[in-house]
Symmetry: C2
């Protein structure tokens, strides 16, 4: 197998592109616009190989014109991975298989890699970083979280000097589009259809709405920010699909809105650190920056021991913003830049968050409901903060909201199990964590 390590003083960096979809074709456009032709000073960057299925069709793509005319278009990945001419593989296909094997092959043969593949970096990142380091090549993945928002380089390079204790973020643009549309009156099913029509959501929206996409990104951020190595499968994810218009109305009354939030926090324990992590719909106070994210915007808030809260926000998805992140990684590699990579350790993960909670119940009206619910909470020692019930709903589907004082989610789950068995309960109760704004210095 031929080995090809880029020499920093090399005049041209040859890029092999895996995937010519929305992001891949946008990357070709951004690269063409960056004005780094050969001989312009610095290392020139050019696409020499494009791998995709059905390349005949791909070559007619409106952005195919941004690929140099002499580039090789191929349906055989071997043409790209096996070529000693390719210095850098840009992977924009996604998924673990076959991307993992192909990128291992690229790294092993001395090629740099830039990827937007969040699943791959979340699940296999640490072993891939080791492989890259052992081969003296770079593996960059700035596009894997929050697309065009430079939260990965910003944290890696600019916050490495702090001790970050918590990250909270909106890292799934589809869920944010759905929930921020519901905030202004849209219905879940209707806005999901619209998101699908706009190309924001897949025909099977589960990865987005059920939180699997977000938790992979949360694990990537945790590795950098908290230096904690977490298996995404260990992070509890709650679907946003049970959130309804009525929840926004009650949230508003509580000074909040609802967003899909991904959150991970270090909890220092005498027997070693633990990470409390969770992804799901949460009540966000309108005074929190997280409430300001609309549409497909992404936002990440880091809380540091010394630096306090730092907010990054912008366009989390879309071809061009994601291509900017990829292009920035490619430039870093071309310029011979190296990133700070502080060691991360595997830590225990728990989803048992101590916080105030919002409970929304749909009940069949009859005497004794408040007593039943209050009794179930009292039995496990949870204090009620507020009880809200509005007029104008049918008596056989009466929404009824309770907020609790801070309690452990595991404790609350016991009370919920109890309530679910009560005969007046029309559907399973919905619980959402209520975020608390606790950085007074930023106000």
């Amino acid at each position: 197998m031929s080995e090809t390590v880029l020499n920093a003083s090399q005049a041209v960096l040859n890029v092999g592109l895996l995937g010519f979809g929305t992001v891949g074709s946008s990357f070709a456009e951004v690269l063409a616009a960056s004005g780094r032709p050969e001989g312009s000073g610095g290392t020139a960057i050019r696409i020499t190989h494009v791998f995709n299925r059905d390349v005949q069709r791909k070559r007619t793509h409106p952005r195919a014109k941004f690929v140099p005319a002499d580039a090789i278009w191929t349906e055989h990945v071997e043409d790209l991975l096996g070529s000693p001419d390719v210095h850098l593989v840009v992977e924009l296909m996604g998924g673990l298989d076959p991307a993992e094997n192909w990128l291992r092959r690229a790294l092993t043969t001395g090629k740099h890699v830039a990827t937007a593949n969040k699943q791959l970096i979340a699940y296999r990142g640490s072993s891939l970083f080791e492989l890259a380091a052992s081969k003296g090549v770079q593996l960059l993945y700035g596009a894997a979280v929050a697309g065009g928002v430079p939260v990965i380089p910003g944290m890696s390079q600019g916050l490495s000097g702090d001790q970050i204790t918590r990250i909270s973020g909106i890292v799934n643009g589809t869920c944010n589009f759905i929930l921020s549309s519901m905030e202004t009156g849209a219905d879940y099913a209707e806005v999901l259809k619209k998101a699908q029509a706009l190309g924001y959501a897949e025909s099977n929206p589960s990865a987005d709405v059920d939180g699997f996409d977000a938790r992979a990104k949360l694990c990537i951020l945790s590795r950098i920010a908290l230096r904690a190595e977490i298996n995404p499968d260990d992070v509890p994810a709650q679907t946003i699909s049970h959130v309804s218009a009525i929840d926004f109305a009650y949230a508003k009354e509580l000074g909040c809105t609802v967003r899909q939030v991904s959150r991970a926090q270090i909890e220092s324990k005498p027997d070693g650190n633990k990470v409390i992590a969770r992804v799901g719909p949460m009540l966000v106070p309108m005074t929190s920056p997280i409430a300001w994210s609309h549409g497909t915007q992404n936002m990440v808030v880091t809380s540091g021991r010394f630096g306090g809260d730092v907010v990054f926000s912008g366009h989390g998805a879309g071809g061009h913003p994601t291509a900017v992140a990829v292009m920035s990684d490619v430039l870093a590699i071309a310029e011979g830049s190296a990133t700070v990579r502080l060691p991360a350790k595997p830590v225990e993960v728990s989803g048992d968050v101590t916080a105030p909670y919002y409970l929304r119940l749909i009940v069949k009206d009859r005497p004794g409901i408040v007593a039943g619910i209050a009794g179930a909470l009292a039995k496990v020692g949870i204090n009620i903060d507020t009880i809200l019930q509005h007029r104008g709903h049918p008596a056989d589907r009466l929404p009824f909201v309770v907020t609790t004082e801070p309690c452990r989610s595991a404790t609350l789950d016991k009370a919920i199990a109890d309530m679910s068995r009560m005969e007046f309960m029309v559907e399973p109760p919905l619980t959402m964590q209520i975020l608390v704004v606790d950085d007074p210095d930023t106000d």
Copy 2:
């Protein structure tokens, strides 16, 4: 002269610290907390020299305990700069003189430099970067703008792939503290006193309130984001000291608040690019992220051709947040990280911004005022958008507000000169640019 270049595989990075004030002592604390003692893996980082005036007093500082006991405290900079043991100079004194000569000496003798000195980087950055590159050492300055907000590393590493066309920011925490306090009813003079008492403002507040601090930072950001080399002295700066409570009342009516905004924008011209730059109080729509910054918070918004708007915000000042930025640079140097540095070119600067404007006049009430003002604007071809005048003010000091449709500031200045000569004008008119939210995708 002895030359000392750090070897990447070296076990210890020795730091010489210039300045043990608020940031210097906070840096010592952050470094001590970062847990990089010798033998812990990676390059250990230790302070070996501290230079300051009156070291006897400094050694009694509560944070002096974070400096290793065997470090040399000195009032003679030669002890530090002349020592081949020092690999990295951390400069936290500020000002051009003597910092410039000292850091030139450090770079020339093969020492890396990390600095928070915005004046130095704004005025002398390009020649210092050249010197550092020629000596194979690093010069990092992440703390020079927006303290603990990683806007410099975030832009350098994460947005280098975009073509940024505009940066807008709140980069002076003192002005933001004053104006955001005025928003909730405080009086300028009173809140300035409070800022001085809290240590946010100097006894001579001119550098902050008159915009000189902010424009140095704007030039640093322009170099990275717009790749434009600008002399800070060429950027028009308008003082915030003429903004009064009445302006906040009228701004609110216009759906805005007032902030000191620093702004630079590329204008493509057939004869080469030009940068339109300005620092001063501006009317900011409440729907803009810039309006959300309160207290001493800093915020920078970049607008990219491909990536759209990206927002960075957090604690811009203070010992600990600034120390985090310095520590992050020190770690980058210790880890042998290199940054992407794209070439910047000197460009022509103009403060002649085409925008809608807010004019606030204080007049002695009499017939013909509206005719006079409208006439002065009509004469130069400026259209009036709104005229606002509220009751309840004394007739001999009547505030009177006009907003214009977009016009050039140079044109407006002519009309203002005209109006200033009108006999009903009690004090010189105040003009402020009105920002327009123009990135609909983020909503």
